[in-house]
């Protein structure tokens, strides 16, 4: 899997992504080789709740040269150099005129910052502070930005619904609006596409919905279309972001705090990871801000590695291929699949023998010879039987007994097969 991840990473990396534009289309086309997305175009100007889909932005060429013709920065070299949504511009400027349009990080002087101005018309360039300090303060600079902001354009997104036995849905949503950065955020689309790959041939109970859209405005548009449906049908959702590095797993709670995905993520991390982080819901971050807004309050959590804003390279040119690990990314994908498997199995099973214990021995489930130490599986059966009372689901019982979730799923199957438990 790691080779495939790297192959797709390398192809997707150089593309200029933003809220809108051809780069997003190209990105979705490549991802469709893994997950056959339906591509949607939402016209610029479309109203969704309090927001309006912005004009489509495309940039062909953008650079600064000094009076000797030396290129200072060039969008073609690193798309972070161009302030996202820069309006077109051509002209000659003094240093003092130019510097009003330059953005740097004085505290991280080696790195190019990532900046955008989606909803206010500006142009600008981002560069390392080191480079900025070497600029000739008396020089004259030529600037060219060949970009377009098309009011008749569109915002592009892709989605796919993988039907399961039930119409109840599990959502995996990620965003495609970040240009050349790796953890935040080529990792999210890659991991999401590869999770699809793991699920597509299974007999799933739940219907899975995969969404690849720009952050914020993309999710807001999607919720304007599906929000009410989700309130009825969404059992679990995940905003897939910052899943590329090999930092500790981080689980960020949904606004509800104890919804189905909250409980499943916590149980899996607790049983399979020696260390991990748990953070309470806070209305900041990524698309959980929309999915967990008070009018929706959906059961949407995050399972991340190193979290947005919590690493120095965040939103800079330092968030690159060196920062991430394809081995870690594979592990993240498999962790998601573990969680989804547990969610699939989670049910309220009902013990058909609630008065005293059923006699397990005569059904071959209990040793006929008394033993000083009983197998963990016996313990697991006792817990399943005692708490399969209509009030507790499998996750509740695992939480109570803290027996390995695989043993518990296995025991539930055995007891179902013997007719001792029923769904």
């Amino acid at each position: 899997m790691q080779e495939q991840l790297e192959k797709y990473f390398d192809r997707l990396w150089p593309i200029n992504r933003s809220l809108t534009g051809d780069g997003n289309r190209e990105t979705l086309d490549i991802l469709s080789e893994i997950i056959p997305l339906t591509i949607h175009e939402v016209p610029s100007g479309t109203q969704c709740f309090d927001w309006i889909v912005p004009p489509e932005w495309n940039a062909k060429e953008a650079w600064i040269k000094d009076e000797h013709g030396n290129t200072i920065v060039d969008f073609a070299v690193n798309n972070l150099h161009l302030l996202g949504y820069s309006v077109p511009f051509e002209g000659e400027l003094t240093f003092n005129e130019l510097k009003e349009h330059l953005y740097t990080l004085p505290k991280q002087p080696d790195l190019i910052p990532y900046l955008t101005s989606y909803y206010s018309r500006r142009w600008g360039f981002c560069m390392s502070h080191n480079q900025f300090q070497k600029l000739d303060k008396n020089g004259i600079y030529t600037v060219k930005i060949d970009s377009s902001l098309d009011e008749k354009g569109a915002m592009t997104y892709g989605d796919l619904v993988l039907k399961g036995k039930s119409d109840k849905e599990i959502l995996l949503t990620t965003y495609i609006c970040h240009p050349s950065m790796a953890n935040n955020e080529l990792s999210g689309p890659l991991v999401t596409a590869f999770i699809y790959n793991q699920l597509k041939d299974k007999e799933n109970y739940y219907t899975y919905r995969f969404v690849f859209a720009p952050e914020t405005i993309g999710s807001i548009y999607y919720l304007s279309q599906y929000g009410e449906y989700f309130k009825q049908n969404l059992e679990a959702g995940f905003v897939v972001t910052c899943v590329g590095d090999d930092g500790q797993f981080t689980y960020k709670k949904s606004r509800r705090g104890n919804s189905l995905p909250d409980r499943a993520v916590y149980t899996i991390l607790k049983q399979t990871e020696s260390e991990f982080k748990v953070i309470d819901f806070a209305p900041r971050g990524s698309d959980e801000r929309q999915y967990c807004s008070p009018g929706f309050n959906l059961p949407v959590v995050l399972l991340l590695r190193t979290t947005y804003g919590q690493y120095a390279e965040y939103h800079t040119s330092g968030d690159n291929k060196d920062f991430i690990s394809f081995a870690a990314m594979e592990k993240t994908i498999l962790k998601y699949v573990e969680i989804l498997t547990l969610i699939e199995k989670n049910k309220k099973y009902i013990n058909q023998f609630p008065y005293c214990e059923p006699q397990l021995g005569k059904r071959g489930l209990y040793p006929t010879l008394s033993e000083k130490e009983k197998a963990i599986e016996i313990d697991a059966m006792m817990w399943m039987l005692n708490y399969s009372d209509g009030d507790h689901d499998l996750l509740d019982i695992i939480e109570k007994c803290n027996i390995d979730y695989k043993t518990m799923m296995n025991v539930a199957d055995k007891l179902l097969l013997k007719g001792i438990l029923k769904n």
Copy 2:
């Protein structure tokens, strides 16, 4: 403020206060210079719940002299020398007869204890144990107590209602029955009067009620008159006692534990004090015993400095001007005002854009240029918006996000002004 506090302290200090009597009237007259109290006289013998207002007690003169005419103790020198509610007495006694009427603190031999016998007729004197031990065991002593217990007298108290926009009330109650002691309890009446001073010219939302009455019987009488009204209209109450020294702030919970004043006091202390004490409700102490009796169970808390019974000088001559600090008293007054300001602002605000986030940028509330680190005010707005859902009031949201309460109040105002939040 500190000079004024000291000036009033010095005038009130020498007055003999008790459950009843002219000292209480004089005390209320002086306090009325700061807060224009309505003075009430409750006839002795008045029934209130299980209690009866005692006869009015006044003491003009009280001393012990030895056979050489030397004054041993004199009420005129320190009113603690006379056991509160001592009946009149004149006579000559041997040491052995006298000592049955003498009270000392063997473990604190320098200090005069403060004792009373409100409901059982006695006479007695209090003195330092050191002085007691020097008394001539063979001497003859002359005792004179010129006191009166008038069944036709009255119990005096004062109150003032400062009308706000709402009829819902906030109560500040303190007690005026302690003779010359400083923290417990000239501090309570002084602090309460000066809180009035801070509030009187404001446009208050709540109606404030200030009560100056003797402890226990005064509160019981007051509750016999207003208890049922309070059950409907009291939103927050404070028993103001032991607020004079510069010890850590101490918050004692109401019986309910999480009522409005509980939450406001806790939030303010947590955000403004590096160290403070929290004590659970217990049915002992001061007038919270009455306000939080099970039939009333009112939202009444205490914000104290060093608590009754928790300092060695408590109920002795050691609780004097040296024990307290007018700077600390001023800080206490301002802390109460902070708490009341937060209570005034506390409301359930309603986000008018509950589906996804409102677009703050177009309203000038969000930077149009993306930034790596967002201002705390942006965070504060996000919390206000996400939790202004009809279930959470401002205090709930501050508790969740632990952002400075002033920033949160400020942000609430801004969002109200823009029509994004409504009351």
Copy 3:
């Protein structure tokens, strides 16, 4: 008491007990000298829920001899040598044939294990691993097991109901199916019988039910008869097991977790023991597995010393008279009686003066002279009064104030006597 305990222990020790058989009858006969049990015989083959009462098992003689006539093991010497419920067998076997029927504990080579095969027909012997290793691998062994499995037999149990003022019941249940072991389980029947001894002459509020039956099948049968009655009438139950050694007290919660006996046991242990263990309910162990099965979910807890499975000697010949202590057993009995006394006293008392405090002074319950430090009894009265509001029972109030339960019971009585509290 300790001498009596030892006397009965010594008489009961050598008897071979099992699910059924004459040993159990003999055991119940001896216990009836202390507690006049009604003896019941449940026919083999009786269905109770998912279970069937097994055939009656009796063993007269059982041994292995080598070809030289030397006795290897003999049931007459230690009844643990014979696998419980062994079928009759006579024959000569090689070592390899014999060893399929031998059970040892390689990790505890000195000890004879305790094993049974109640529901699967087998024969076998248990011996120390040391002895097993010394056996001649080339020898020929003679085996004789003179036992019977009688389908027309019966399962024997005993019970006694000690009527109190109320029909509401407290259950003490223990099991009589363990042969010669001491903590688990001669201690349970002995302690239970002696608790009866402590209660029989008291004027009890509750009706006490004592049950001596085999583990699991005995309780299942009992619940098939009384389970529905218990759901209506059982206020508190205790499975009395592992109460013989001088290890720390251990309290195992009921499935409900906070039922009446849970609260009483916890309060008594907290107030009277410097160290003790609390373990959450788990559906393993002894007869709590049946009493706390989801269809019954009765308020049944355990108060043990060192818990089943938690000591090396458990279910071996090492669990013998040396392992236990009659002084500890006496202390256990008295601890149970303390708990039952508190349960007897526990009620919701109702304060007749809920509005402010009643005036305790005029009833002689409060000092008429004010004091700096109040007696703990005053405090106790204040807590009783404030929380005797119809929502809190005595145990709730003790939990809140953590005042010694004897003081609290005493104060409740005083306030009842004065008419301030009522039931």
